[in-house]
Symmetry: C2
Subunit: 99 residues, 2 copies
């Protein structure tokens, strides 16, 4: 299992529209092979910050299977217009006994 | 529910000792009122990066109840020696329907 951790900074005042767009985009990413789960969280200190956590079966399911698919273009077309900066994405693996 | 998201960068080669220290420190933070759950994940692109996710019942349970307690000093004494930089900590709330 691999956890994709993405930070999104959205344009001022765009939070509600970004959340609605991500609700729509969820079905796009969820249909991708190897997708396991998705969570979206909104910043407390900085409400224009969002934390996206997506579990994938393997790293390749995300960086090859999803990112190189037509579905990725649809995903980004839905949520990209609200970005104030390029997303910051990193992958993680659970630490045994603590993951 | 509030999610604490912490990024830790550890000293080169210190990953295994950091993980062992966090395994010990887990019991310290888990005893703090309002603690719900803890997960530790290790970076795929950068193995010296760790992602800590801690769920708290409220923000105050973390930033007041835990951070101002003696338990926090014990927590930091256990894991702090392995930090290569100050931790980057931010709090998030689940987005309805996506959290």
């Amino acid at each position: 299992m691999v956890l994709e951790r993405a930070h999104f900074a959205v344009l001022p005042g765009a939070g509600d529209r970004f959340e609605a767009a991500l609700g729509e985009a969820r079905s796009v990413i969820a249909a991708s092979p190897g997708f396991v789960s998705l969570e979206l969280h909104r910043g407390v200190e900085s409400p224009e910050h969002y934390l996206l956590l997506v579990e994938w079966e393997t790293l390749a399911d995300h960086v090859v299977g999803f990112r190189e698919s037509d579905a990725f273009a649809r995903w980004r077309a839905l949520i990209g217009p609200f970005f104030a900066a390029p997303p910051d994405v990193e992958h993680f693996e659970p630490v045994a006994g603590l993951g």
